[in-house]
Symmetry: C2
Subunit: 337 residues, 2 copies
DNA sequence: TGTTATAATGTAAACGCTTTCATGATAAAA
DNA sequence: TTTTATCATGAAAGCGTTTACATTATAACA
């Protein structure tokens, strides 16, 4: 790989001049510019981004063209969508992204966060799940541009991109009610998770708005994982009388519920209606196609990155909070009560 | 952020000594070592990876602790599994990965590949899809450690991790035959893609081994995408008589077929049996649960990265070709003919 | 013509690290 | 005691950039 010096000597100029042309400085004579450009082409020179990053570090300029993305669970298609949005927007600006998938492993947290800092990233898009909040707050305060996604950070002023979970859930339940359902069950995720409580609120509010009394036996609290969907939907299905409709709190829970419903010999939507929070690209291939609340993951990721770049440019601008609407995709899993 | 110099002056030693302790050099007095370690702790010092990478560049040592991963389509859950495998193995060695998702956009290719090179990555795990092969070959020859995944690179000697597509397909079709099916259709991906032809070969071989004549009208060629599954399965379903079983060439095709089968009022497995190439974590939630050929994406990614690290350590070791078996996950989508 | 302002270029320091090489300290051997 | 080998440390160069600063060439003006 060639470097500035090679280009400089081939073009018979100094490395400073070469640097100026690759950075589009106006302080270079047109003739010199083409001379240098020819040399660059001939050597197939591409500036070394590592050196540039190190150099930029001195000016605290924050355009080393690399950002981090920390995600709780890449198996969740919603986060894959976020990733795509982040990556696309970043690449458009020639930024590269280091994706950090936490999975369930707690010990990765500090390791990854430390690594990201020593990679001198320009910024971070992060889903601040439980246990991460404190560290993220600290990083925000240290001056690293950060935008949060999917969840807010309590007590710290930071850019955030969310979806209106309450409204999304409200509309899902409203849809069920409109179809005539009254015994509508809800399988919630962990009640410590803000998104869970918002969705629960949406469920409650819809019931209340339609003067349907809330039956606490119809709401189950799990840990947002597949197994919880399996187990809690089983409880629900076995209750007497079983609910006529089920609203599941996220896509993993939906999966578990789906499996249990089939296993138990219930038919959708004849025996039970189903609406899931989170749409997936294969929802339409289900039999029947699943009615679901769609979170615009791609747009969220994209917008978050946009916000991040803005902040890099202006650390002092007031923080923004952008809220996307979730969209109810009505398909055929609900029928009527 | 503190740096070597800060630590050095706090510990009253030179930066060289500090560098030695963070690199576990044996050439440092135990007493000095603890002195330095205390200083490190007190300052919460973490070495800057960018600087280290730049420095290592001089020794061509190839442990800047960063690798690239280039994937054709992150929406495909198989590649998400690969990503997880790569990331886990990398992180265990404190490596970080830059994930490059190509999507369908051709213009991203050279951009991303160039960026990766100027990031001075230590190596690359890559799915060498059509159009990428030439560039990847060139990079291999330039001396960058590379391991290919899912597909081989014709004409270039390189490490590769594959699954036995032929055998996987063979077993899927064999399963169908054992169940009594004779009119087994196959929806293939692009015939230019090696994996497609291997799967097709498996299909053919199984038929042949069971003395079932190959009916060319039962094999359809698409572009491996969702829409092709939709369209080609429709053709198949409308043919007279329709096949009793369908084997789909990848998970996207399966999705399309699933949708079309439901739309057409066919019932699985009563009217038509279905086996998909590629298992997905939600296959079990389908009604009925889908019988599918599972590619061990996670292990593939992990093994590929292991191979990559080995190669970084020894550029001259002979190339390896590791082949994983695909596993037929038998569930309930096949019935009997 | 000589000044002076301006544009174009070059020089060198800095980013934070690793490592070679030189040097100093300590211990073992003579 | 001196010599020599060994261990511990420090000084400094180098990785490939960017940019502040210094310098030189060019143009504008008196």
């Amino acid at each position: 790989m060639s470097n500035l010096k090679d280009v400089a000597s081939l073009a018979a100029v100094s490395i400073a001049t070469v640097s100026r042309v690759i950075n589009n400085s106006s302080l270079v004579d047109p003739k010199t510019r083409v001379k240098v450009q020819n040399a660059i082409k001939k050597l197939n020179f591409h500036p070394n981004r590592v050196a540039r990053r190190l150099s930029k570090l001195r000016m605290k300029e924050g355009n080393g063209k690399i950002i981090g993305l920390v995600l709780p669970d890449i198996n969740n298609p919603f986060y894959v969508d976020v990733l795509r949005g982040v990556e696309d927007y970043a690449l458009k600006h020639e930024y590269v992204v280091i994706t950090c998938n936490f999975g369930q492993d707690e010990s990765r947290e500090k390791l990854y966060l430390n690594i990201l800092q020593s990679e001198s990233i320009d910024g971070l898009v992060v889903v601040p799940v439980l246990g991460l909040e404190e560290k993220v707050s600290k990083m925000v305060e240290s001056g690293l541009p950060i935008v949060c996604v999917d969840r807010e950070l309590t007590g710290t002023d930071v850019d955030v991109v969310l979806v209106d979970n309450r409204k999304g859930a409200y509309e899902a339940v409203q849809h069920l009610i409109r179809l005539g359902h009254k015994r509508i069950a809800f399988i919630s995720g962990l009640p410590q998770i803000p998104t869970s409580v918002e969705r629960l609120n949406g469920y409650r509010d819809a019931l209340h708005a339609n003067k349907i009394p809330l039956d606490e036996k119809l709401v189950k609290y799990g840990d947002s994982m597949y197994e919880s969907g399996l187990r809690l939907s089983e409880e629900l299905l076995k209750s007497e009388p079983p609910p006529t409709a089920l609203f599941t709190g996220n896509n993993l829970i939906t999966l578990g519920a789906l499996e249990m419903i089939h296993r138990s010999g219930f038919s959708i939507p004849k025996d039970i209606a189903l609406v899931g929070f989170d749409d997936m690209h294969w929802s339409i291939s289900l039999n029947p196609p699943l009615t679901a609340v769609r979170q615009p993951g791609y747009d969220i990721g994209k917008r978050a990155t946009e916000l991040l770049f803005q902040r890099s440019g202006d650390l002092k601008r007031p923080t923004a909070k952008v809220i996307f609407n979730a969209e109810l995709k009505i398909r055929n899993s609900c029928g009527s009560a």
